[in-house]
Symmetry: C2
Subunit: 292 residues, 2 copies
Amino acid sequence: MTFSPQKITIGFIGIGVMGKSMAGHLMAKGYRMHIYTRTKQKARELLDKGAIWEDSVASLALKCQVIISMVGYPHDVEEVYLGDGGIVANSRPGTITADMTTSSPELAGRIYSEAKARNVHALDAPVTGGDRGAREATLSIMVGGDESDFSAMLPVFECMGKTIVYQGSAGKGQHCKLANQIAIAMTLIGVCESLSYSRRAGLDEQKMLQSVSSGAAGSWQMSNMAPRMLKGDFAPGFFVKHLLKDLNIAAEQAARMGFNAPGLSLAKTLYDKLVALGEGESGTQALLKLYR
Amino acid sequence: MTFSPQKITIGFIGIGVMGKSMAGHLMAKGYRMHIYTRTKQKARELLDKGAIWEDSVASLALKCQVIISMVGYPHDVEEVYLGDGGIVANSRPGTITADMTTSSPELAGRIYSEAKARNVHALDAPVTGGDRGAREATLSIMVGGDESDFSAMLPVFECMGKTIVYQGSAGKGQHCKLANQIAIAMTLIGVCESLSYSRRAGLDEQKMLQSVSSGAAGSWQMSNMAPRMLKGDFAPGFFVKHLLKDLNIAAEQAARMGFNAPGLSLAKTLYDKLVALGEGESGTQALLKLYR
């Protein structure tokens, strides 16, 4: 099988903010696209551009050589892959799948094994870069699974991302994404405490940022999120509830590894509180509200 | 008074790694330079270039229109400024001083008031950028005190730094630096936990960094410190013991403000442990050792 757009049909499951852009890029490169998502209305734009609607995961799986999923939570991933009507049970031998949802490494491992038993090739390929990275095709894609499958899928990934790295065996893409989320969560706490400290100390927070952003305290979070926090813009680029989901998965993994990660524990506690305050649908920068 | 190199003599107190570079830049711009530091040997290079040695703070203070200090701990700052043989008691009226040590905002306020009572103009002007920033004259300088004194000193600061921001009244330079240290400490914890998680998960940490460094998890600490950690290079750019000093000052300030900063508390706990492990003289990136 070659992966030129002329030769293969891609199935895309999960047309949310991310999925819509990602599938759109693949279509723009000429790939034939079949799509399935829970709320058909969300697929409208892609259908208008020529994507073909499928009424179920099973019917999509039957028709595609490559299947990409971008759904919500691990239980969604489990259903889409391992359910009776799922990808593994209904794909043809030789199909390559890539779950780009941030999900659990163990689940990625189970999908890999069950898929392999049916001669289906499963990759876990979560991404960072958010809605903007999806829109601009500049995502970082972290891939776990067999390296030969990674190589075969590279042209497909390259339509959606800029930094595409093979991280190792099944689940390693997910582990890498979790490592990413740990760093993000801690950095955000630092940005929030730094801003809150400044406000209480009577500093002008904008001037503080001017002094510190470009130095050793600087971070993507500080450069991109602190200005939004100061404008009171807590709109979601990335949902609080999704970061909490990821931190919970990371904390479970850490516990399993016997890894004592006090920063991760603190982050989980703070984001738990934030969800309890009703901020689950806010952007992660809403963490600042805990400090006010 | 004008601040052209031809017209004024600068006194520099504290010729350590930072001070040597900073005083050197001022001399290179043509300022006459008198220096005092505890260990005369450390001043050798500057003396060879024409700086004039002073045997005491008092004798230096008598001869200079501008006095800059870059010493170790708040108690050193207190002695240098407020002791009997100190700057405040021995400077001529009209002298402008800038303490560039990272020290306590309250002490900066006391120095400002006691100096003002003798018609001496005191600024607090701590820096970020480390030894490299000092060497390359790219420091970020955060200044507290009277704005007119800041304006007068700007040409002097510009010889040593790139980002020079007036932060407000006396002590505000120090507050800004503390906000900087809070962000650094948290970001570093995130980098360490992210790396440690990766190692335990069986990832190649270099590949993990390749995937995450340029995205939303990215930071100066990740880009600059993580590669050194992975090489086992724990040499000090910035000492663990000095970061702990700063975190202690920040925590005292936070307590005074009634500011509950759980991230800062955690950072203080972790760096306390690191010093207890004998790593006080290592670079801050040695935090990784706590996780091994």
